[in-house]
Assembly symmetry: C2
Homo-oligomer: 336 residues x 2
DNA sequence: CTGAAAGCGCTAACAC
DNA sequence: GTGTTAGCGCTTTCAG
């Protein structure tokens, strides 16, 4: 393995100069630089990055903690992070927690051991005090989730207002008996979407019926099951706002199996705008989360922290958008 | 930052002993070990892993090169890799190439600079000779893709035989005019699936009609477009084997829009068994690739290389399975 | 079973 | 603009 001192010797310069050519080329006279560069090329020298990391105690690597990579929303945010990281010379270390808090804690060691320069969390299940402590010492950003009472930089969308938008869309279509299938209610995201749903009803003078609110777990199956329950009601809903797209497909499936047409007999709105919602039959009206953008933004905030740039606001709320397709009835187009 | 020498001093032992306690506890007497462990705890000592990496020139990190993380198949393989890596004390560095060869080349430097202990490729677009050279020097495994004439350890499924199975299933359902929408034909995977389709027809004495073979690009849209073409034929097909599930949804959509019922008027079989295929209406009959398992196996092979274990065979072919749902007509269940 | 000592390859003061 | 030098914190012989 050829090392820096070999290059230095052959080029008749010092190690320091070789190091400068690599990390701060402007500080070296062009002649010298070219000579060194030529030798580097000729000897096929590869700097030992581990030595560099050690010496500088910096790794140009960040850690991304994901509850589940196999989930589309997360993998898209990850895509955005990876993109921004790459553009700034950073690498991404993947930490899949499988939704286990313990694994979140384990990965904190990577920060403490300086194995990474910062961390982006896509889910924060850990204790708030622990997280607050970590934040004081290391660059951390939270996205796709948020935490109350922790001053951690966060990138999210406004789940309350977008849920309100979604629900209002159904109200505007003339529905008054609108059900909501929520996500797991221990997640703030789910609570917020529920809150938005409530607000829309109240603000439009609609009666609020608890029986129309069913808790799902973001899976297709739970959407199917909860919809089945709802259809068994004496006065079943004419519209459903589902807290994510995957559950919306379960809702539609259950409705169809019961002889209901969507959107003819039942209007459905989902959330996330995952690819599935565009492909599904009928196309699912949904709220588009700018997942890739969220990842990108989160990485940018992390870089600011790493580079010690004074941050302005800590809470970043990105725009979301109602995507109108067939399932809500606004764009009714019969096929099949 | 408390370091090893601090711990050593306080515990009245040498740095060497502390190091042993951490990396090779058996080599230290229990009393000494316990004493050192207590001090470590008490001082809240965190080893400087960068120094360790540098010293040992080993990182316990592997690089995973993915053409596109946002693709379900890849993110599931990644899940399997991450799982196996975690179990073996390895970390996963993510390298998204966006399908650009140049980026594959860039990432090779990580190996050359010893930043990672090995590499798993989920796509091999780079030059075979380059790859062969790399393989001689560093642990590398290829999965989800393969290369002819390169002795690289590979984990795949048998695309030819599974495509044959899929097509034969349609033949057994009584179809004789079966179309095939391929993936991009520059990919070996696509070529193999086409080959399997051909074999099934030939072995069953069916006429082979080139017009029934249309090249797609694995997207929903291409499935839709190619199916639209096929339906315009004088003698349109009664069944379609699509090279992936996403295109299959396009096929079904086009068929429905044309007033055909699936599977009543058109039988469809997909490939991959992504979640979508189970959720779609109708459920899509498909070939299940064991994506998570592939990732796991790939990681295991990589570990063997890293640990210098003599490898047996280099080509690992995992089992795949035909998942029968509604779209092929075998399980016809009308809904909606 | 434990300690002493050398040194991994690079960077960054500091001199010149 | 360039060279000299002193480590970064750990692991690993080699002795004892």
């Amino acid at each position: 393995m050829v090392k820096m001192s070999d290059v230095a010797e052959k080029a008749n310069v010092s190690k320091a100069t070789v190091s400068r050519v690599l990390r701060n080329p402007e500080a070296v006279k062009k002649d010298t630089r070219d000579k060194v560069l030529a030798i580097i090329e000729q000897m096929n020298y590869q700097p030992n990055i581990l030595a560099r990391h050690f010496r500088r105690s910096q790794t140009n690597t960040i850690l991304v903690v994901v509850p589940n990579i196999m989930n589309t929303v997360f993998s898209h945010i990850l895509g955005g992070i990876e993109h921004a990281a790459g553009e700034n010379g950073y690498r991404v270390l993947l930490a899949n927690t499988n939704k286990q808090v313990e694994r979140e804690y384990e990965y904190l060691d990577h920060l403490k051991q300086r194995q990474v320069d910062g961390m982006i969390l896509l889910s924060a299940r850990m204790d708030k005090n622990v997280l607050t402590e970590v934040m004081k010492q290391f660059p951390v950003v939270l996205t796709a989730d948020y935490l109350e009472g922790v001053a951690i930089p966060t990138v999210t969308i406004d789940n309350v207002s977008s849920a309100r938008t979604a629900t209002e869309h159904l109200i505007n279509m003339g529905h008054s008996r609108i059900a909501h299938i929520t996500g797991p209610l221990h997640l703030l995201v789910s609570q917020d979407r529920l809150k938005g749903y409530r607000q829309a009803l109240l603000q439009n003078g609609l009666a609020f019926d608890n029986i129309l609110i069913q808790e799902g777990d973001f899976s297709h199956e739970s959407g199917y099951n909860q919809m089945t329950k709802l259809m068994a009601l004496e006065k079943p809903p004419t519209a459903v706002f589902s807290a994510n797209d995957e559950m919306a497909t379960g809702v539609i499936k259950a409705a169809k199996e019961n002889g209901l047409s969507v959107p003819g007999d039942l209007a459905v709105v989902g959330f996330d705008n995952i690819k599935l919602s565009a492909i599904y039959d009928p196309g699912i009206t949904t709220i588009a989360q700018p997942t890739f953008e969220m990842g990108k933004k989160a990485m940018e905030l992390l870089l600011e922290q790493i580079n010690g740039i004074e941050m302005g606001k800590r809470q970043h709320v990105l725009e979301n958008e109602l995507i109108i397709r067939e399932s809500c009835g606004a764009n009714f187009k019969k096929n099949g």
